[in-house]
Amino acid sequence: MKYARIVEELPHKPPFKFVDEITFLNENLIKGYYKLPQNAFFFKGHFPDNPITPGVIVLEIMAQIGLVAFGKFLVAEKAYSYTDIFFTSSEVKYSNPSYPGDRITVVSEKIYFKFRKLKCKVTALKDNGDIVCYGTLSGMLH
């Protein structure tokens, strides 16, 4: 499955689609990024005159790339009848803030994909190497 097709086929749409490009993908690992737009809707209120990316948005970026996009590829590889993986749980820590214009690269490493559950070790980084957030995310096929 081609990288661009996976991004196109994600069920998320703007303003809640947080995947620009998948840059690497195999059965064990996915890498992709999302550049935080200066005018993203969440920066208007979080916070006025001091825009910082909400943690839930960072987590959503991690989930869309590290679980949903990754899951689309793995499902296609296994020829399952399911089409999408839904984000179900996470255990993460936040290390550094991110701001408008930052590019968030997500690296997601498969821990296992069994019994319709995908569990991954996921890290979100900025271009300077600073880790924004890291932890484990899980999702189930539906």
């Binding site: 179900t88 749980s89 296992y112 069994k114 019994f115 319709r116 559950k117 569990k119 899980s138 189930m140």
Partner: protein, 86 residues
């Protein structure tokens, strides 16, 4: 052999218990132990690793009680012994 199996299984399941401190073989995995389907997958993957067995989706769909897991593991490990001895 079976006792070791039960002790190992208890050690795997105990961190996931909700609302109970101990488990017994007659406990229903969901109703008595409060284990949800997401945690159950983690448990099953850990069982596969620790007992060096491979579980199939059709097999895990039949698991309701702790004793069902033991029965499945006994069946799996016996099958392995037969293969090794043949």
């Amino acid at each position: 052999m079976k006792n070791t199996m039960i002790e190992t299984l208890k050690a795997i399941i105990t961190p996931y218990l909700k609302g109970v401190s101990e488990l017994s073989l007659n406990d229903h995995i969901v109703d008595n132990l409060g284990i949800d389907s997401l945690d159950l997958v983690d448990i099953l993957v850990e069982i596969e690793t620790q007992f060096a067995v491979s579980l199939e989706e059709e097999e895990i769909n039949q698991l309701a009680y702790v004793k069902d897991i033991i029965a499945l593991l006994e069946q799996k490990t016996k099958a392995d012994e037969v293969c090794e001895n043949s």
